[in-house]
Amino acid sequence: MYAGPVQDLIEELGRLPGVGPKSAQRIAFHLLKLPKQDALRLARAVTEVKERVTLCTRCFNVAEGDECGVCVDSRRESGVLCVVEEPRDIVAVEKTHEYRGRYHVLQGAISPIEGIGPDQLKVRELLARLEPEEISEVILCTNPNIEGEATAMYLARLLRPLGLKVTRIASGLPVGGDLEYADELTLGRALEGRREVEA
């Protein structure tokens, strides 16, 4: 519809989550009107994040080096892992100050509709950590929606035969919601009230 670069920009923006074709067009024309240094600052931020920030090789949280800040912190309790879907869920759990162990980020949840099965998640990597890190408890902290529950059940069935203590955060979180929307107090209570899973 528009000439080369403008159309390219609209198409790229339209690929972002939650941005429809109309919004993509609006953002593109907003960027066109922006002073050059402002637009370049945004471009630089995008480049920087891709060049300097990577995923932690151990837990798949965002990291600026090989391993993330949580993994390299020696004051962290060892032997326990909190399994979450996305790095942003770590932020939510950290805000509760209820948890002192390390994490494992699955990078999603089981959802055939989105083409995500156990193979697309960091499940094998989770299993590989259990022995070397002498893990005795795994807390399943996936979202309290259908996909998160299914993922938790899948992992519980995988982990329990290995003789680990497998717990799930307590209900009481807004059902169907995302962890990131739960307030600190509620999520803190859910962590504290976690129960062993019978799978």
């Binding site: 939650g18 429809g20 074709p21 109309k22 919004s23 089981i110 959802s111 055939p112 509709i113 099965g117 156990p118 193979d119 259908i146 996909e147 529950e149 299914a150 059940m153 899948y154 069935r157 995988l158 807004p174 059902v175 169907g176 919601g177 929307y181």
Partner: protein, 364 residues
């Protein structure tokens, strides 16, 4: 509950509407295609966050507009809650819809369920008797949710699990690998939990509905026929978990979920004969009407106050006797009705609105 005021922006062909609703009966008059039913559809949208005509959300936004807004002031009519509730639903042509109650955004749209309650009567109701099982399931499920709003989440989750399972079965391409088996196990466990919960609620509701529907049918049709309403879910004898396990090979081969609450039916019979195939057109109409009226009674009992009646062009399809019977049995509740012509004797609206080209004017 009672609807006090209604504002609409770009809902279907209604670009801008602002009106006060009568405490009793509001008649909405106008020719076909002018937008009468859209007005009722907007009110019903606040109750279920879906179209009673089964239209997708995008279709409810006026062509060319980015969003539609349905806003209503509702008196909860509950002791100790004097203040009116302000409800605003924003439907977007693209992107996520938003719902606000008293200017606070709801975290989940489903939390709105129960704030506005409606009973919809439409000419299309005949399909509940004549059509496929999905129409009867929808009637029962809507009543289930109206009676206990927490089941709205069960119903939503169940739909989601069924979609996930169907996709997984298609992806399996007819082969059961250990990976597919492990994930299928998980979806089946969820499906069986949710399915058992919904089926129990359906069975309970059908049990309550049957005697009421029978009584109303006899009154509407002026006879003494024996009406039965029975929930048919063949898998319930063995339980959903066992039924799913038994059907698995078949499901994988065919790529669909062949057993479960999404395949159930609600069988209707008059004097021992199936109403879908053996009743006359007149009997079918009376039964459809009886089911709606009985459902309305049930929801009124459970909720304490009657839902708002939405009567969409119901008299055009009824003969004078059945029209008179309906008028006689109309519960005393707030009601909005649409009509293209004259109203039957005994129907006295407090307020008459005329709809023309998507504009609403007070006629009297």
């Amino acid at each position: 509950m009672r609807l006090r005021r209604l504002w609409l922006t770009d809902f279907r062909n209604l670009a801008a509407v602002e009106l006060e609703v009568a405490a009793g009966l509001t008649a909405v008059v106008g020719a076909n295609g002018e937008g009468k039913t859209n007005l009722l559809e907007a009110v019903a949208y606040l109750a279920t966050l879906s179209s009673f005509r089964g239209a997708p959300g995008e279709a409810l936004v006026r062509a060319g507009a980015e969003r539609a807004v349905v806003r209503a002031e509702v008196d909860p009519e509950q002791p100790g809650r004097a203040a009116d509730t302000l409800i605003e639903a924003e439907l977007r042509a693209v992107g996520r819809d938003r719902v606000m109650v008293n200017r606070q955004r709801l975290r989940r749209a489903a939390d709105l369920v129960g704030t506005v309650r409606v009973s919809v009567f439409s000419p299309d109701d005949l399909a509940v008797v004549k059509g496929g099982p999905d129409r009867r399931r929808r009637l029962v499920d809507d009543l289930v949710v109206a009676g206990s709003p927490r089941l709205a989440a069960v119903r939503g989750d169940l739909d989601r699990v069924l979609r996930q399972r169907a996709t997984l079965l298609r992806q399996a391409g007819g082969r059961l690998t250990p990976d597919i088996t492990a994930t299928l196990d998980v979806w089946d466990a969820k499906l069986s939990d949710l399915g058992e919960t919904l089926a129990q609620a359906r069975a309970d509701l059908v049990g309550q509905l049957e005697p009421l529907a029978g009584k109303v049918y006899d009154q509407v049709a002026a006879t003494a026929a024996r009406v039965t309403v029975s929930y048919v879910a063949p898998w319930r004898d063995q339980g959903l978990a066992a039924a799913l396990a038994e059907a698995r090979t078949d499901d994988v081969r065919r790529g669909v979920t062949t057993v479960g609450p999404h395949r159930d039916d609600v069988e209707l019979s008059i004097a021992g004969l199936p109403a879908r195939t053996h009743a006359s057109q007149g009997e079918q109409r009376s039964l459809a009407l009886a089911l709606r009226l009985a459902g309305h009674q049930l929801v009124t009992e459970v909720g304490g106050t009657p839902p708002v009646l939405l009567l969409d062009d119901v008299f055009s399809e009824l003969d004078p006797e059945r029209s008179a019977a309906l008028v006689a049995h109309l519960p005393r509740a707030q009601a909005l009705l649409t009509t293209t012509g004259a109203l039957p004797a005994g129907v006295e609206p407090e307020l008459v609105l005329r709809v023309r080209h998507g504009r609403v004017a007070v006629e009297r």
